[in-house]
Amino acid sequence: MTDSSEDTKGTAAAAPEKAAQPAAFLDVRDLKVHFPTDDGVVKSVDGLTFSLEKGKTLGIVGESGSGKSVTSLAVMGLHRAARQQRSKVTMSGEIWLDGKELVSADPDEVRRLRGREMAMIFQDPLSALHPFYSVGTQIVEAYRVHHAVDKKTARKRAVEMLDRVGIPQPDKRVDDHPHQFSGGMRQRAMIAMALVNNPELLIADEPTTALDVTVQAQILDLIRDLQKEFGSAVIIITHDLGVVAELADDLLVMYGGRCVERGPAEKVFSAPQHPYTWGLLGSMPRIDRDQTDRLIPVKGSPPSLINVPSGCAFNPRCPYADVPEDNLTRTVRPELREVGGGHFSACHLPQEERERIWTEEIAPKL
């Protein structure tokens, strides 16, 4: 009734069988999500590629405006809701979920996958739950969209899920409204709702940012346990490197709508290969070490997604922007290149130079 088919269904429709069906469970290729506005095109996501296997967790890290949330919404087919007012949006690239391509798929087909094969939990569970309906009603609704069962059965399922996520007296609390729950309980209920259909992909967008640290620990634990139990793939989106280090197997660092570094979490943390990642690590006060030194901040502020700097998007803030010759960082956009063991980085600095800077200049100060 409302679908303004303003999307240009990008390349996928035109492209002949580009590649064979991908092997990975979730495979995102050259994803671009652009929002044309009066001020110019907001390139929220501008060529993003990653993949994720079942049972694994991918952490997407970035600051506000890095495109990390839009990426997750695009996978869910909810990118149009990413901006206020239903502005125009163009999406291109490919998103393969379990052998199905979603960018070129019929929106109604994507809708049927939403909630069943892929589910999402959001940052602020108070505003993400409808204030007028009881928690049970909302979970029942989520279940009945995809299962032709009567309300009684669905309610039983809702109670079961609430119990599973650790809500005490689930048969009573099921009739409570969101405002009668505490923050942590609400996020648990949100998780129960997301997992009610046993989705194979769970996207958690800043799931603990609005919560207190002790509650955050509970929720992270819960997500970890549930993943073990259900074997689903999890994408966790956050600005907090600590949260990622807790959960993620793989890490993807986004900056200005692009991926600047990606790889196994341990590698990215132990030997990061991009100056922006160094900046993030240097900016973070650490609880596990007694730091007496000053923090090492990144100068300037994140770029506008309308005027992303040419060349490497990070170049105006990068302390090493002048190291590569020929003004390379300002003219040529660096491609993601493997540095070994599934670890990729998009940086013009020669690899030896990067390793030297990390071990000699950055690591000792952290």
Partner: protein, 374 residues
């Protein structure tokens, strides 16, 4: 009035980081808080009769020494922000006393408070909400001069431009409006405004929590530099234990309207004594995937109880794995178990030398994955 020790003369601003200076002989505190209470009454019905109270702050004592940074940390609803509003007298306490430079300011009227406002300034969390969008940066930063009727040397404009430079903004920003600035820059503007009157004490409520990580670090460093340059005293209120660890000399941990532990930074983070502090510290995710498996995390059960009807005795006992009967009946006082390390607990952790109040730590039934400690 209380005993007014005229400390104006003998007050020597301390250098930050000189540990020795703040050890035994305490200098006269800049701010002295005793038994501070703030209850928000809850009324019901047409007649608005009081049926209870939110015990936001319920009897806390602490000093802020000149030149130091006192960090106040706790989870939402612990009363830390209310405490901040009380000590800056944006709100009036229900009970207790606040002395600033030896002068009792607990119940001063707004008019009598005005001179004090010069010396105590506040920085807020939300860099968007706290700046009037219709005023220029110059107008915003010069507000304190107008309010206090102060004419700085060389004129207001020159002084404002100096302040802008001080916080790392360009003096040319004088005529711009808040929306033209990023979150980090707005927070700098807020800081410039707070510093306009050369305050002695700056109370910052979550000064960096709305900012991106890379910007957070810029603001933290800026506050650091300013403290050194201007000899400021900070009370920094935050929920982020990593930030608090980085910025504070001493730290107060709050839980449900009480201070449960108050200690210098090193002792607090290395040998926390209150079980709550310990659980809190263990819950913070560390950006190091290798440590994921090694860590002994204490998972607290349930949620913080309501401040309307807090538990009897020790307020943390409902979630504490060490709780015993005495915790339900007797409220543990905040006492120094070691030099400079105050704890309010019947069964403190890391209490090497058996403190007088320390009973043998019995594993309570409420316990979850109790850790063995380091």
């Amino acid at each position: 009035m209380t005993d007014t020790t005229d400390d104006q003369s003998k007050k020597i601003p301390l250098q930050k980081g000189t540990e020795a200076a703040k050890a035994p002989a305490d200098p006269a505190p800049l701010l002295r808080v005793r038994g501070l209470v703030r209850h928000f009454p809850i009324t019901k019905g047409l007649l608005k009769r009081q049926t209870g109270a939110v015990q936001a702050v319920d009897g806390i004592d602490f000093d802020v020494r000149p030149g130091e940074t006192l960090g106040v940390v706790g989870e939402s609803g612990c009363g830390k922000s209310t405490m901040g509003r009380l000590i800056t007298r944006l709100d009036e306490p229900t009970g207790g006393s606040i002395e600033f430079q030896g002068r009792d300011i607990t119940h001063l009227s707004p008019g009598r408070l005005r001179p004090m406002r010069r010396d105590v300034q506040m920085i807020f969390q939300d860099p968007y909400g706290s700046l009037n969008p219709r005023h220029t940066i110059g107008g915003i930063v010069s507000t304190p001069f107008r309010l206090q009727g102060v004419e700085p040397e060389g004129g207001v404009k020159k002084e404002v431009q100096r302040l802008l430079e001080l916080v790392g903004l360009s003096p040319e920003h004088y005529n711009r409006y808040p929306h033209e600035f990023s979150g980090g820059q707005r927070q700098r503007i807020g800081i410039a405004r707070a510093l306009a009157l050369k305050p002695k004490l700056v109370v910052a409520d979550e000064p960096v929590s709305a900012l991106d990580v890379s910007i957070q670090a810029q603001v933290v460093n800026l506050m650091d530099d300013l403290q050194e340059e201007l000899g400021l005293t900070y009370v920094i209120i935050a929920h982020d234990l990593s930030v608090i660890r980085h910025v504070s000399d001493r730290i107060a941990v709050m839980y449900l309207g009480k201070i449960v532990e108050l200690s210098d930074r090193k002792a607090l983070y290395e040998t926390p004594m209150h079980p709550y502090t310990k659980a809190l510290l263990s819950a913070v995710p560390v950006p190091d995937p290798k440590r994921r498996t090694q860590r002994d995390r204490i998972l607290l059960k349930g949620d913080v109880p309501s401040p309307i009807d807090p538990p009897s005795g020790c307020r943390f006992r409902t979630r504490c794995w060490k709780a015993t009967e005495v915790c339900a009946t007797t409220e543990p006082p905040l006492v120094a178990l070691r030099t400079g390390h105050q704890v309010a607990c019947h069964h403190p952790e890391n209490a090497g030398d058996p403190a007088p109040a320390a009973a043998p730590p019995a594993e309570g039934p409420a316990g979850s994955k109790a850790s063995t400690g380091e």
